[in-house]
Symmetry: C2
């Protein structure tokens, strides 16, 4: 079975090329996740490091999907969305009963404290809900090879353009996807198991980058930053306006630990930081402003509402390097359909070129 | 005229998709440049910051091309290779007579001290050799827009996976190529001039990444790291062996100023650094080893020949994040033909998928 056929079997409601909504913590909740799946993508709820509200988010998602006139086809009555976890920060024992009860189509694991922990999460999830597919996010060839110990169904290969958290040190999907693909296929073939399906994340915001990811060897793409500008995102208007305003993301975003420090997001390993839009907090930190004072100023801006975001303001605005191509707020459904049809147009352009010998 | 048609008119010997050899300083000389062009690519001599030997390299290239049985078709008897300059470091007055005499098909400008300087270089080159096309390398949307003042024929859009020198802060070609493409086309259309042809550089080492770059909107691709492993590269065996040995380039290479400092390569602006394979020098610098001592140890390794390169050695080994996909030393001609045919295969796969409704 091809990887595309596997995806269509495992998530029967999808259309291809597959567009996935990243499990952005606090931002990707029931509204966004269900809209993405309803448009033929796979939406994720971002549980992150806290599962205390996860059951109610999944309940809400269930309800939203029942309210629709059309029912999405799923395997064995699975919930046609996924849930994303930042594994080092979540209690496995609190999570498993929720997975067992709501049976999401996919559980996305990221940044486990060890490979042993990743294997435990995988085993217990599969025991609790055998049809829930295991997705593992990795940022290097080494991480991909290590993750194979858990026999994931999907590897999400994250490149350095990605917004939010990822490896401090890395490569873009241009280098990473083909090398990971070769490495995991080689190992899987030698060991006689089925290689995971590869999806690409990091810098993909529209049809051209989605088509590029497929050319690199991915079987589908994950978008985060683009969905920050979705109507259904659980996001402040000030944050969303910044995402639409900012251009030239390579220059106006940065990978740093400064924002985590200011927000008191502790617990991330030294190996990880996060990409966000450069603002006054970052510029002050760079100039050597005392961290306590920078934090005080940050907390002051937290009380300003939407005016707390901006190049000269201080609220954290995680976004990827592709942010310059996010130009308008739109519904998540139209975003999924647009990216999918634009990607197909790009690929069909090559079809025409090949037909006329002009590739 | 399409951009592909423009390329075929301006460089009549090429085959598409266009594969270009980056003008790697000290490494890309007459042997490498002519082999790349002979295989239907565009080879470049890397003059870098020093033109004192450029005339003899161009003389050698002329000779090599005359020695071949077949003559490459060029416009008006131009030399069917290009020359790359690191503009802040080169005397314009010494360069122009060489361009006038040897008439390379392209002059590649990178890191000029100002836009005024870029415009002066462009104007004087065009006066000296009207058919020499002007290529400008940029690493951000802002740099691309600024470069339009010189009305370049080609923009080389360099992403962060690239080896050697580039912007400290940036995005991969995934984000950068589409945003630059939109920006320069918008400006060119509004102002009524022809937008430059866009080529992508940074992380492209083989067919999948070459195809991805075309999907992103580039009309051709530039490879540097892959040609480090070309038989015709002017490179030490120790360096070349490292390029073939190293995997997982996102983890084993790093963008840093450490190597320039050790080598005494001064003059680069704070905006630029370079990606190289992590070695003992870098690890020692990270640990806080005194720079003078690190330099002394570096100079000691310079006397070790090929043993001076390696993960525990100290010779600088500039390479891109795609280095893990460079797996063997091969002739430059076979490399060009392989990457081109592999890229076509990737694109034809989509042609078949589109034909069967399975994109």
């Amino acid at each position: 079975m091809t990887d595309i056929a596997r995806l269509k079997t495992d998530y029967p409601w999808i259309e291809t090329p597959l567009i996935v909504g990243a499990p952005m913590r606090l931002i990707a909740l029931a509204d966004l996740a269900t809209e993405i799946s309803r448009a033929g993508g796979i939406g994720f709820i971002g549980a992150g490091t806290d599962v205390s509200n996860l059951a109610s988010h999944l309940q809400a998602a269930q309800q939203l999907l029942q309210n629709q006139n059309t029912t999405l086809p799923t395997r064995e009555g699975m919930l046609p969305i996924g849930v994303g976890f930042i594994n080092w920060g979540v209690a496995l024992s609190e999570t498993i009963p929720i997975i067992e009860r709501y049976r999401p189509a996919a559980a996305w694991f990221f940044a486990p404290s060890s490979i042993a922990s990743l294997m435990e999460w995988t085993e217990k999830s599969r025991n609790a809900s055998p049809e829930t597919k295991i997705w593992v996010q990795i940022g290097s060839v080494r991480e991909a090879v290590d993750a194979l110990n858990a026999r994931p169904d999907v590897l999400v290969v994250q490149g350095t353009d990605a917004g939010g958290h990822g490896l401090v040190q890395g490569a873009s999907i241009v280098s990473l996807v083909p090398e990971v693909d070769d490495a995991v296929r080689g190992i899987a073939r030698a060991a006689g198991f089925e290689a995971p399906v590869i999806l690409a994340a990091g810098g993909i915001v529209e049809g051209r980058s989605a088509a590029a990811a497929l050319a690199l060897g991915a079987s589908g793409v994950v978008l985060g930053t683009r969905f920050l500008a979705a109507k259904e995102a659980n996001i402040a208007k000030g944050y969303q306006d910044e995402v639409v305003r900012v251009n030239d993301g390579g220059q106006t975003t940065v990978r740093t630990k400064v924002y985590d420090d200011l927000r008191g997001t502790t617990g991330w390993a030294q190996t990880h930081n996060a990409r966000g839009i450069i603002n006054r907090s970052f510029k002050d930190a760079l100039k050597g402003l005392d961290e306590a004072e920078n934090k005080r100023l940050y907390e002051q801006d937290m009380r300003k509402g939407d005016a707390g975001w901006g190049a000269e303001a201080r609220m954290t605005t995680y976004a990827g390097a592709g942010v310059g191509l996010v130009r308008a707020i739109a519904g998540a459904g139209p975003i999924v359909r647009d990216v999918r049809s634009q990607a197909v147009k790009v690929l069909e352009k090559f079809t025409r070129a090949a037909a006329s010998g002009k590739l």
